[in-house]
């Protein structure tokens, strides 16, 4: 018996929500970034589920693009975290507070 579309959508919605909550509540920059990745993977699952349901390859294509971009973003993001650690010796986003109005 195939898994119905709704189950995929509910799962991906939950994953996305967990990612959002992670970004908002976690304080370590790396964990925040992991939560963002979780959001992107939830999106990928949504695309694939719709793609399968509609019988259209557009969603698959989109997913590949998202994966490639996420990899590029990880490279730049981790470089930023490293250079922050060099100047400040911390990756806690609450300690990163030089700029305030």
């Amino acid at each position: 018996m195939p898994v119905p579309l709704n189950h995929y959508l509910i799962l991906s919605g939950l994953l996305f929500a967990i990612g959002v909550v992670g970004v908002i509540t976690r304080r370590n920059a790396l964990i925040v970034y992991m939560s963002i990745e979780l959001m992107l993977n939830a999106v990928n699952l949504t695309f694939i589920a719709f793609s399968r349901h509609l019988g259209d390859m557009g969603g698959h294509m989109f997913t590949f693009m998202v994966m490639a971009v996420a990899a590029a973003e990880a490279a730049v993001g981790l470089a930023i975290v490293i250079s922050l650690f060099r100047t400040r010796q911390t990756v806690d986003v609450d300690d990163v507070n030089l700029l305030k109005g």
Partner: protein
């Protein structure tokens, strides 16, 4: 094997910029320390070549299987982005020397970011729009943290990166839901599915809201603006100048394309959402700018409020409103990058002096530059005969025509508030004596050239905006 026919004409400016960006990266390997002075001029040559390609009028068409538009609308935006990038390179030349960041990579990243903006403006498929947006964003994350020895710059890069990624998540989820409800990623396909088919309206509405949230983050619309002041204050000054003009225009181009072209047929009133966003963006941006003491941070809030004015034209949702948005972003590119150029000069080495108070007595030490700065901030405030006034005038007119009187009222009140904090620059420059003795400031050739172009734009568009207005109106014909 059959090679596909590639429509190089549609992507010629992008290709030219990419080639020059790669050249800059190669040059970085071979150039010695003292040969690096050539970097900005090489980048500028790339911008000029790309402009020549972009200026060539092509028959409006959509190429790459309906994914990439080569119309007048795209052309207008491409030329505007190239102008912004050119001005940024000019004000970067001296700055990057002083801060020891005169690497090929810096200029290559600027060019790659410009390619990203062009792809966004041209994309008529959600995949292409997303790719352009990410190319732009990833380049900007790196640029924001480019002065990597400064803790502020690192902090700006981290904040931009985390919040940018967060926003991209929302944007993508919105795109996924729109795809699910219509079965298309192309904007024409979506428009067709919405007008003829029976899409799932619940999914489509949630998807559009998420898309608007994602784009709102990128254009720094209130309440999604929290990252903006920190990122703008921490980034190197020329990068802040760059970020405040081009990328915002690129996101507005995407908003126009998506909401005018494909979601316009929806049964929900999206102009109401944009109206709410526009009013909040203008008001919060202006009121927060009032209390700032740091000039960079103040200009950050001012750029938030300017995005709000531009969104008024978007909310008007008529031809006049959209072409007024195009004109507004062009004028904003001219005046804002010039103002940031002077700020980069006043800030001196290491960006130690970016407070408003550091402009004290500027008119006595550098009378010429003070006059230029006065003209630019008058234009930002929207005082005639400067271009800022004309741009605002057309935006407000279009809102009146659309019958959005409340929106016009809010915009006019906000312009009045804006005058107060822009004039503080003139008060500091003209009405106070210089407090301390500092070595005199001398503008570099690049900065002078950038200021001449800015001044020309501000005065030319302010006194006789006719041809530019016509260009902006023509840009919409090929829709």
């Amino acid at each position: 094997m059959v090679l596909p026919i590639v429509d190089f004409g549609a992507v010629a400016p992008e290709l030219a910029l990419t080639v020059f960006a790669c050249l800059l990266l190669f040059a970085g390997v071979f150039l010695k320390e003292n040969g690096r002075a050539v970097n900005p001029w090489l980048a500028l040559a790339g911008v000029l070549v790309a402009s020549a390609y972009a200026a060539c009028p092509a028959e409006p068409h959509v190429s790459f299987s309906g994914m990439y538009a080569a119309d007048r609308f795209t052309q207008f935006f491409k030329l505007m982005f190239l102008l912004g990038t050119g001005l940024t390179i000019l004000i970067s030349a001296k700055y990057s020397d002083d801060e020891r960041i005169n690497h090929g990579e810096y200029y290559a990243l600027l060019l790659f970011a410009t390619v990203g903006m062009m792809i966004m403006a041209a994309g008529s498929d959600m995949i292409v729009i997303f790719l352009g947006l990410e190319l732009l964003s990833i380049s900007l994350y790196a640029l924001a943290g480019y002065t990597r020895m400064r803790a502020e710059s690192n902090e700006a890069a981290l904040k931009y990166f985390l919040l940018g990624g967060f926003a991209a998540g929302f944007l993508l989820y919105g795109m996924a839901l729109i795809y699910g409800s219509t079965g298309h990623t192309g904007l024409f396909g979506i428009a067709k599915a919405v007008s003829h088919g029976s899409p799932n309206y619940t999914l489509l509405t949630i998807g559009s809201i998420l898309l608007l949230v994602g784009l709102g983050f990128k254009v720094a619309a209130v309440p999604f603006h929290q990252w903006t002041p920190d990122v703008y204050q921490g980034s190197p000054v020329p990068v802040t100048a760059f970020m405040s003009a081009g990328p915002k225009a690129a996101v507005l181009a995407v908003m126009i394309r998506v909401f005018e072209q494909s979601v316009a047929f929806m049964n929900v009133d999206w102009t109401a959402w944009i109206t709410v966003l526009a009013v909040m963006t203008m008001t919060v941006g202006n009121i927060a700018a009032l209390v700032q003491t740091d000039a960079k941070r103040m200009l950050a809030f001012s750029s938030i409020s300017h995005a709000g004015y531009a969104m008024v034209g978007l909310a008007a949702a008529n031809k006049g409103g959209i072409s007024a948005v195009l004109l507004y972003m062009l004028v904003y590119t001219f005046m804002n990058i010039g103002a940031f150029g002077i700020l980069a000069l006043v800030a001196r080495k290491g960006e130690q002096r970016t407070r408003m108070a550091d402009f004290t007595g500027f008119a006595y030490t550098n009378p010429g530059l003070a006059v230029v700065m006065t003209i630019l901030v008058f234009s930002l405030a929207g005082i005639p005969p400067m271009a800022g006034f004309i741009a605002k005038f057309y935006i407000f007119m279009s809102a009146v025509e659309a019958g959005q009187y409340f929106l016009v009222f809010a915009a006019v009140v906000n312009s009045a508030i804006g005058i107060y904090y822009y004039l503080r620059f003139t008060v500091y420059m003209y009405m106070k004596d210089p407090a301390e003795q500092l070595p005199p400031l001398k503008a570099s050739v690049g900065l002078l050239l950038a200021l001449v172009i800015s001044l020309y734009g501000v005065l030319r568009l302010g006194v006789a905006p006719g041809p530019y207005l016509e260009m902006a109106a023509k840009a919409l014909l090929s829709f």
